[in-house]
């Protein structure tokens, strides 16, 4: 469904409104996934859906109802339900404000026809090239190839009319070789960059190079995290930049704007227009997103807001609202960590003794306010001695304050989009001078 069709559907919703104000969000998507293991495809999925979300405001009260049916009866019913809920709901402390018209421009290359038109045969070809690498090198592989198209249109009775269409694609592969594993991933808006041979051979090299892993002692290590691993940590910073968390005191930034909170050279942005992750130029309330430096050279610069929290805190609306009803507050969906100047090879070469980590797993918060995270290494962990990789290493568990680690770190000069299905952000590799590993495994 294109933007015109979504807009027409949204207008059919608003035409039924008897509320003081109304917002209609129409989202359409077509997602396909080819997932494989042991060189066969065990999940091959193709899904189409159109969802309609209606927010009604009556006397300062809000109700939200959703449906995925678009016949007249379903639209009558969803508008009626939203309005009835709004008429009943208690009045909020901050009166809800719907977005008004604002001109926005989608970032370049957010939508690529080749991705939108990708076929199951094309995805199978990428997977087949990965299978070839596994078979040729005595490994087995698991992973996926995915392509999707998504669009959203937000129209309000206050005049907002915003539409965005984007494509996404990606492939990842875990390669298993006896007692070791390796990993490679690639995400883009353009399916033509997915190269099964390249991904498969990279994962094979990782697996082969980490064969017969040795045990190392837990404790404080110099560690280099490749982008897939570093992204797993950065993802957990998102909540801390929320105006809600900032105000309520659960963010490490609470009361610290303007202070140095990380090392010089650490700049973290929210940027919907980054070339590696072009995203919608407006938020889920239909307000324009601002491109923000949240941490600049280690100094806490700002937090993200939505219409409610901008009003509560007397700050500008940065355009980081989530779909109503939203009890979680605003959120930065397009995090970017700025690169440094050294290549990944140079970061390794400058390390006297340390660990190189390909990927992390099951990262969870141990202590929110202190940003202590725990998790495991996986799929390619290596010992570095005197500037060179000397061995694979058995996996380790870490317990580390991320903000403390970012107090002394260096970034690589290239950035990658990472996160797969779980999130999307752009990050370089990072070298932490001090990173605490708490325990080990026997694999």
């Amino acid at each position: 469904m294109d933007a015109d069709a979504r807009r027409a559907l949204a207008e059919r919703v608003l035409a039924r409104s008897r509320a003081d104000a109304m917002e209609a969000i129409v989202s359409s998507d077509h997602r396909a996934l080819t997932r494989f293991t042991h060189e066969f495809i065990h999940q091959n999925v193709d899904i189409e859906n159109v969802a309609i979300r209606v927010r009604a405001i009556v006397d300062g009260r809000t109700g939200v109802a959703s449906t995925n049916a678009s016949d007249d009866g379903a639209l009558d019913a969803v508008v009626k339900r939203a309005t009835e809920i709004a008429a009943f709901a208690p009045r909020r402390t901050e009166p809800p404000l719907l977005a008004t018209y604002a001109a926005v421009t989608a970032p370049a290359a957010a939508y690529v026809d080749a991705t939108a038109n990708a076929t199951p045969e094309e995805r199978a070809l990428v997977a087949g090239a990965i299978f070839d690498q596994a078979a040729t090198n005595g490994c087995w592989c698991s992973g996926y190839v995915t392509t999707s198209t998504g669009g959203v249109t937000i129209v309000t009775t206050s005049g907002a009319d915003a539409s965005f269409d984007g494509t996404e694609c990606g492939a990842n592969v875990k390669m298993t070789a006896g007692d070791s594993t390796g990993f490679a991933e690639r995400y883009s808006t353009d399916v033509r960059v997915l190269d099964g041979y390249l991904l498969g051979s990279r994962a094979v090299r990782k697996a082969q190079r980490s064969a017969h892993p040795i045990s190392v002692d837990p404790g404080d290590w110099t560690v280099i995290l490749e982008p897939a691993a570093f992204g797993e940590l950065v993802h957990f910073l998102g909540d801390h930049f929320s105006a809600q968390a900032y105000d309520e005191g659960s963010s490490f930034l609470s009361g610290r704007l303007g202070e140095r909170v990380m090392g010089a050279g650490v700049t973290i942005r929210d940027d919907y227009a980054h070339a590696r992750h072009p995203d919608a130029p407006f938020d889920w309330e239909g307000n324009p997103k601002q491109r923000l430096a949240l941490i600049e050279d280690g100094v806490a610069r700002t937090i993200v807001t939505d219409s409610e929290w901008a009003g509560k805190l007397g700050r500008p609306n940065t355009g980081h609202g989530l779909p109503a009803p939203n009890a979680y507050g605003p959120y930065p969906l397009d995090l970017v960590v700025d690169p440094g100047t050294a290549s990944l090879d140079e970061l390794i070469a400058s390390t006297k003794r340390g660990l190189l980590v390909t990927r992390l797993w099951y990262v969870r918060i141990v202590d929110q306010r202190k940003t202590i995270l725990t998790g495991m290494t996986r799929d390619g962990t290596f010992l570095i001695e005197n500037g060179a990789i000397v061995s694979g290493v058995r996996n380790l568990r870490f317990n580390q304050s991320l903000v403390d680690a970012l107090g002394a770190c260096t970034f690589s000069n290239d950035q990658q989009r990472t996160g797969g299905y779980s999130y999307a952000l752009v990050a370089p590799a990072v070298k932490f001078e001090r990173f605490n590993f708490a325990s080990t495994t026997d694999y």
Binding site: I41, D46, A89, R92, T374, Y443
Partner: protein
């Protein structure tokens, strides 16, 4: 609902286009969520969704297509897409997996429901949460009070080309309260009931059983007290886990480990594999002899209880760990076939648009024979921990580290002062073999989890791990704050 004509068309089309077998689920779901936050109704939503998901088997490979439209053209197109997906998969695959069911069921199932949530006025629902949330603010340090409830109703019809025709109506309900205390550069959270709330199969009676209003002031006060409580010590000592934390321990270190798709590498690139191997059935000492863990997808109040799973297998009970020995797995038809076994009815899809896959359903630790208060009796030096706050386990389900919201010192058999930031860690079979006492039936409860994640794209599963409090010896404590 009666989708039989649609089913006939879409299945016939799939078979005509080359499928050896096909099945289809038609679903209509309604989910209602209300959330109160610091006195405001922060969320009040009512979501309806409907559509169908079709599986087609071609040359030993599966294709899946889902669509929200029910007109003839959409049915035909979905059948074509599912077959095309399967055919493309078969062309690249170097193995064949799909099995065709021999059994066919014509049946229906409805979740027992004492009070249909639809009969509860919206005002009564909101009032419950507003009252409970207000009571959480029993101390000035409570920065955030939250109270929420979820009500789900799913009507589904399953049809297969083998002749199955199964209609089900599933009711699931639950809710919780949570208090966040902030002070002196620290924040501490407490939730009730347990750490995820009270969730199971049923109607409004679940919310009544949860006693949110009755416990709110205590939960707020505990969050406040945690700010000034001493830090949980580090060292090797005995641990007693509250029932909801044992439930989490089962979930992470048994439930996911025993999923047969993980064991076979089907989730290897994301959710991971398992330290288990089918050849260890009947041999592996997973836990001490008092540890008995079973699948029960028929149990009353089970969050995952249904009549039939999402590939049309009738719900069953099956042992996974018997007297401490590994004896079975959570399986689907395809995976069970590969080890010469029968499906344990553990296939679920989050909704009509999700592909069915193996999910942890109801997986329970059978109660022991020790009254809760006697678990403490011969603990000389230990910690009693309640309500999960942090959870992490490696991608083979061996090395785990969990933290809880609250703990209490145990000295010479007596529960003492409150402790904050309790954490513990271990290796799965070592830990379960250190279990030397399990609470009795009076302390056993059906703890439900509304947000179990697995698969790509991630699917959210609803699962129960019923458990009683239990005692574990010589556990590494304080590991999360170890530096």
């Amino acid at each position: 609902m009666d989708f039989s004509a649609h089913a006939e068309r879409v299945l016939d089309t799939a078979l005509a286009r080359g499928a050896a077998y096909a099945d289809v689920r038609f679903e209509r779901s309604r989910s209602e969520r209300i959330e109160v936050r610091n006195g405001d109704v922060a969320g009040l939503s009512d979501t309806h969704s409907g559509g169908f998901g079709l599986r087609a088997l071609v040359d030993g490979a599966w294709g899946f297509a889902a669509c929200a439209l029910f007109d003839d053209a959409s049915l035909d197109a979905a059948a074509g897409r599912a077959v095309a997906m399967a055919r493309a998969g078969a062309s690249a695959s170097r193995q064949r997996i799909g099995t065709i069911p021999l059994e066919a069921f014509v049946d229906q199932y409805v979740t027992p429901c004492e009070r249909d949530p639809a009969s509860v006025p919206l005002g009564e629902r909101v009032a419950l949460l507003l009252d409970a949330e207000r009571a959480l603010h029993s101390a000035a340090t409570i920065a955030v009070g939250r109270a929420w409830l979820d009500l789900w109703r799913t009507d589904k019809e399953f049809y297969s080309s083998s002749g199955s025709r199964i209609a089900q109506t599933i009711y699931q309900s639950g809710g919780a309260i949570s208090a966040l205390a902030v002070g002196d550069g620290d924040s501490q959270v407490r939730m009730w009931p347990g750490d995820r709330g009270m969730y199971f199969g049923g109607g409004w009676e679940v919310l009544e059983l949860a006693e949110l209003r009755e416990n709110a002031a205590r939960i707020g006060e505990e969050a406040h007290q945690l700010l000034s409580a001493p830090q949980c010590p580090s060292g090797t000592m005995d641990v007693i886990l509250g029932g909801s934390q044992v439930s989490l321990q089962i979930h992470e270190s048994c439930g996911h480990a025993a999923e047969l798709d993980r064991i076979m590498g089907w989730e290897a690139n994301f959710s991971g594999t398992s330290f288990l191997d089918p050849s260890e059935r009947g041999k592996l000492h997973y836990g001490s002899p008092i540890v008995n863990i079973e699948i029960d997808n028929t149990m009353p109040r089970g969050f995952a209880t249904v009549g039939y799973d999402d590939e049309g297998t009738k719900s069953v009970r099956a042992d996974v760990i018997r007297d401490g020995i590994l004896v079975g797995f959570e399986s689907s038809r395809d995976t069970a076939h590969l080890i010469g076994s029968a499906s344990t009815s553990c296939v679920r899809a989050e909704s009509w648009e999700h592909v069915p896959m193996i999910r942890m359903c109801n997986l329970n630790l059978r109660p022991g024979d020790v009254p809760f208060e006697h678990l403490f009796d011969d603990v000389r030096d230990g910690v009693y921990m309640e309500a999960n706050r942090s959870w992490s386990i490696d991608d083979r389900r061996l090395n785990f580290q969990f933290g809880t919201q609250i703990g209490w010192e145990i000295k010479h058999g007596k529960r003492g002062r409150m402790l904050k930031n309790p954490t513990y860690g271990g290796i799965t079979p070592v830990f379960w073999n250190s279990c030397d006492a399990i609470g009795d039936a009076a302390s056993w409860f059906e703890w439900g989890t509304p947000n179990c994640g697995k698969g790509e794209p991630m699917q959210t599963g609803r699962t129960t791990q019923a458990a009683a409090p239990a005692r574990f010896r010589n556990v590494a404590v304080g590991v999360g704050y170890g530096r």
